[in-house]
Subunit: 249 residues, 8 copies
């Protein structure tokens, strides 16, 4: 609720075009719907520029379906991450337009196509096993209205596979680097380009990998400038932030 | 065993109204029953104001049932936490009054209604996935004789959903804040009220969440005063402590 | 800013007793003073019932002095924790009423005596080395208007030293238990009373003590109900929360 | 191989009662049998006073059976820890004398009864869920030739249940204390007796319990003297060490 | 070295305008200077758009001075982070234009003013103690050619201090949020804006703060989308990444 | 791509035996094949002396099969680690020469026998449960063209089982020591020989073993010189490094 | 307070040889002296067989001196661990019999010589740097009335230095093994003897040693039976427990 | 003590050329000298091919000097690591040939020049701050008789600085890679060569670097084969192992 909106409302009250009761309602009722188990934030699309996105993990199938139902009824584009096939089946029943990206584990119901800028986001993985996280990032970015280039399995153990793709990578506006194990790829890419790099550690690996902690720490302590980091396996967060930057005017 | 009680007993011995043997029995036998695998503490209700509450995890179905049987036979209200549906079935067979709160995973057998004060406890969660822990807290508080207000899915990513409920929250005597991920909700609530806040970190989240450690650490290092913390996912502990404070005269 | 206050303000605008500009000012300017390096919150006393308390660690002597100067000029009681003797000297120069509690590392400037309820707070330590943290808790509670009982060096290695004090401890409304090493005292006290226990782990100990982590974990996993925990060495936090509960009507 | 034995052998060589070849054989062939996957140490019974004990976890059923077969054929008492029922069935087929202690997960084949001293070992648990670890300790101690007193569910949340048993506990020569959660029981027992205490942390608990780390750290940092610690859930190790001490002359 | 540049060079060799030897020299000698202890990368300004920036910690005063001397001689703007006053004195002697930002611990020698876009970067801290890290971020961004708005001491314990500044914050193109303790500010800001947030955990706090780990974990697990994270106390990294995004066309 | 190769190519361009286009192709296309999900590095055999080895964990059966298919078609020896029986079945269908080493979890397709030097590698385990990791190391070394001596179950609890094998161990050129629990065997072996020791911690053990961390730390802090360490359970890495050293001329 | 003592007291009350008031006094006043900052436990000598031992770290010089003064006045042998030379000077002034063992950092005032059994305790260290911890253990054991054999610098990197001493080691009743780095010595000694081993990890080492954690974990996960562990650097604890076992009848 | 040596000795006893007493002396006295605080292993040079090397940290100046004195008197080359200048002064007084390498913190007294093979060891660092550790590795290798190539400050943030040196690096027999922060250099080098790589993590960095743990974990989980790892900052260990491999025939 910005200062401007408060001022406008106060002026309406003064002029009598709004009653005190009406204004009070507006001021006190933020636009969300209370489902009991969830409080859907209809205001977020206006406030943050993106509709609310549902984190499905930890929710029951019924909860996911009801949140989708409500948001579809408001005319929003809806997107759910970490969704299981069963959740998708339930959503599909209430909305035939629902799509499921199984590798990315994302359900989407898209009513209005976003405007897509010409600039691109690169999604690079170190290995084949990092692809599910990469797809979460790539699909997220595409659904939010971005062109995405995928470069998979370009880890530092065979660095020429990366060097070969450098011109293409350098043509992008943001780069997402996804790597497990020692996560060195983020530093190497960061040292070769002057483009913001969002690094995603993955839980790929074993032993002293500790479910992604090794890659996470490596990325946080990267000797290359321009690298920022999101949570382990958080493809969605990387895709979302990359979209923010790529769609910047 | 207080000083007063020792004094009284000694006086009885002196007067001859108790024999040495009798007094010795009283002094050495505290009132518990030994089931072999468990030693039920009948004295706790007098000593701590609350009957013993059974932590069912790690016990066999038979052990849970036998502890319930013994305590019911003593006329106590009985409550078991972290109970499975199978444990409930076994208890139900020996006590038709048994109830099961499945989301909270609590079995209760309530013989005498507790007196319920007018003041209230607020139970607030950051997300939908935190609800099972919240229900453990809320049901615990209700069974111990408290009015509870539930406010679920009010996390800081959409802070107006919390602000809207502030008057209601401020009308309570204790607040339980339940959050996973980064656990920021405890600090935000703590900064907005002058009421004791009991924070419960949950294991909700993934990656650098580390099964609730991130939320736990965040709550322990909260910059808001008046926040104390219980163990990860320990809804029972929060409900119990909140009840202690709320029922204080 | 409650619903009531918004309603009143809107009515004044309607009636013309407040202009739109005036109302806007009120709505947008919360009562704090911006010192550049710090933004002093004058509203907190009204909002949370306690004046802002200065955490001095990490601040320069000049910053501490200027924050004290500003707050004294507003007529508030002022209190600074983790303060060095040098900070105290600087504050003493601008306010002759300033006092320093050296063991507790607290500076206070008290203009108005708080009303002190008859109920008491017990502050218990396991060892002699825990006393500085205990004093931080005790002085905090006293400055906020509470009677405090100090029971120091009553650790479980000689548990009769605790048992002896039980009647006195049971006469209190809240208990603060302060222990380093294995932190067992919190569980033992929690099992003997039906009063809320706030446990403070201290960094006292060595080796597998890990700067207080062992005591912290022990207190969080306490088998006794009614125990909540604050950060390692956080005597202030315990004293503040205990005061909230003790001064509850 | 002690100095004495070398001396004796050298004398025999000198006298001609042993040939150089024979002596060499003795010196170079320590008495073990190589099964390919395991090298059974027949010398251990002489060297350490106890026959080799088989840690079954991580071995296949076939490996466990073959090790038992070999050791039985040598006339030793045999004992296997962390054994599954399937392992027991396989051993039972080759040795009808085999017994299975299911709660302790121990298989034993006992050919010769050990001499049992009059002194006793106390095995005390904090809770009911600690019993499987306690049984591993108790059965181990009994198989190695010791009298054991079991005191289960005597945690510090109801400390009188422990106090009541103190005379019995004090009559023992060694005490094993088994506790999960915050592990406070070890410190409390250690403070009440002048007998060696072997503390076993268990993985019982949840959240900040971290699979037994909290109890482990608490026991290592115990403020009571005379407490030593073994690995998490290591009932066998505690029983073995306790037996060593109890059987000491 | 892009495909285009290789093509051009090969064409020159073919045409005879470059000899094989010359081409070989170009291809094998990347433009850096070897100081023995350091290999200064003159190519970086072209490759990444920014001149090399010296991380002074862990270097001797002599090493820092010689790197500065070399880079100044090449006509670059030079900047050194984590610099001590002694390092500054040494640099000042060889370059009178050298400046020292003591709170940010940055030495700069600026020969050519960067073009500064109209868009702005917001640097927000939770507390006063976070200011040194914030200044490192702000000065870095300013030296790299950005306008910076500083909002210090706006932590969630008094959230109205932040709300009041929201219009100003929303007018920026990137936001840097700097917080120690529980790091909740990043989530709260992230939930209120639709602008990329770069979060910097600081080592401010004590106890379960663990030198900034608590804030780091909280920021990584933030429930607000659009938040990326850099290393603990890494003001420079945040300023550098923010500059990359802000100066994007 | 070495300096020499660049020089030769440039000379060919100059002489006209290569066109600019041809040279460009060579320079920019490193010899790998892009399968979409994987980028197979055909150059590695030349560059590192070993063909690419497939880490199968985290890949789908289809991905593993297609990578095998491609590499077999190029005439390489192919080897896949951490492979499941199902992966083997799929590979077997496209290549009847495929073999599966089930304990080592390795699939191999060997077209050309490597030359095998006379020197040997010793693979020593502390216990029976360490054998799967040992087999991964031993099979890897054998497939890469080395003679291997296996000495299993020679842990320090019965150190004579090791001493007995010392002459055989000392006859090797490299030693791989594999141990879980406390990992002491690496230090003991390292102290008895003057041969490089590669230590592999295993996740064998429980409790304070922490999935192999205890053994890993012990090996890293070994008091014996000449010991280097690989990741927990990384038999492949140890076998590969040992092969490099053993095959050194 | 044993059952027997209660019985005797009650009988006296009955007979009239004790008044109720007198008995009450005895029952409620355990024999300790409250110094305000410390509560000296005079009962411990009777209860645990050893007088209270002062842990001096974290206490002020004045506190240490006053505790010594009080305990000396009661006629006890007094011993203080982790004592600085300054503490010793202060104690020396009030008691000319005070002695300081500087390497062990122990102050002792011994009034009555303990009876010393013929059996011995071996104290073995891995390296020279472990000697201060070893001396703390050895002096503790000697002051408590034990014969001690010291074998220093016998680490596994040169295992024959240990083997040579085996007959002497085997002649002892308890063994204390003290090692930093990887702590392997405890397992090796444990595998060679049938005597209880108390392992003390030390903070000696660097890097992945983590202040003694590596040695601690190695000792807890030791593959040798009969090894129990005390806290990092806890020479006192080891000496105390060893004395308990050695002096056992 | 090999089988052969025992055989020979036994034959001498048989023939009478050795008496039983003499043989016993040889068998029981391994060649070390007991200094009380240290047991110098004269046998190591024969057993492991290298004389004992003194780890000076944690020893007193006197202890270091006496160990040097003894070993010099035996005619060995002597080398001490982690030595302070004060230790050097003390050694210099007893041996004018002593040299001090201050950056490497090594004291050496070299009586006989080792034979130096033609092959070389490369020592590569990521940054300037890693040089002290690199010098420890390089000087160790040189003193043990190896040619060393130093390539410092070649980290992945400017990877062309490494690529340029590849031919030189590829000409070596072993490579030591030394890096702090994210340690990516080890993986990158490992992917470019077919030579054994010994990786040394350093404590260089801050924040989520955790004193070298991030680099350590990254190196352990390296996606490049042929990389083994030593302890954090353990330049000596890397130099020693590299020497073993380089000097291999």
């Amino acid at each position: 609720m910005t200062t401007k909106e408060i001022e406008k409302l106060l002026n309406e009250v003064k002029k009598g075009t709004s009653s005190v009761g009406e204004a009070l309602e507006v001021l006190k009722s933020f636009p969300y719907t209370d489902l009991g188990f969830a409080r859907i934030d209809h205001h977020r699309e206006i406030r943050t520029g993106y509709p609310e996105i549902i984190y499905c993990a930890g929710k029951t199938i019924e909860q996911v379906r009801e949140i989708f139902r409500l948001m579809i009824s408001k005319g929003s584009n809806v997107m759910g991450t970490r969704a299981t096939p069963d959740m998708y089946s339930a959503v599909k029943k209430i909305s035939p337009k629902a799509k499921y990206f199984s590798e990315a584990r994302i359900i989407s119901v898209q009513k209005k196509k976003p405007v897509i800028p010409d600039t691109k986001i690169a999604v690079i993985t170190a290995g084949t096993s990092d692809i599910p996280v990469a797809e979460e990032a790539a699909i997220t970015a595409e659904l939010l209205g971005n062109k995405v280039i995928r470069i998979y399995d370009a880890g530092v153990a065979g660095i020429h596979r990366l060097v070969d793709k450098l011109p293409e990578i350098r043509s992008c506006r943001v780069i997402i680097v996804i790597a497990g194990m020692e996560g060195a790829l983020a530093s190497v890419v960061g040292g070769l380009v002057d483009i913001p790099v969002i690094a995603v550690p993955t839980s790929v690996g074993y032993g002293a990998n500790f479910g992604g902690i090794s890659a996470l720490l490596a990325m946080l302590t990267s000797c290359s400038s321009g690298v920022t980091v999101v949570n382990i396996d958080n493809g969605f967060g990387a895709g979302f932030s990359a979209s923010m930057i790529n769609r910047m005017k």
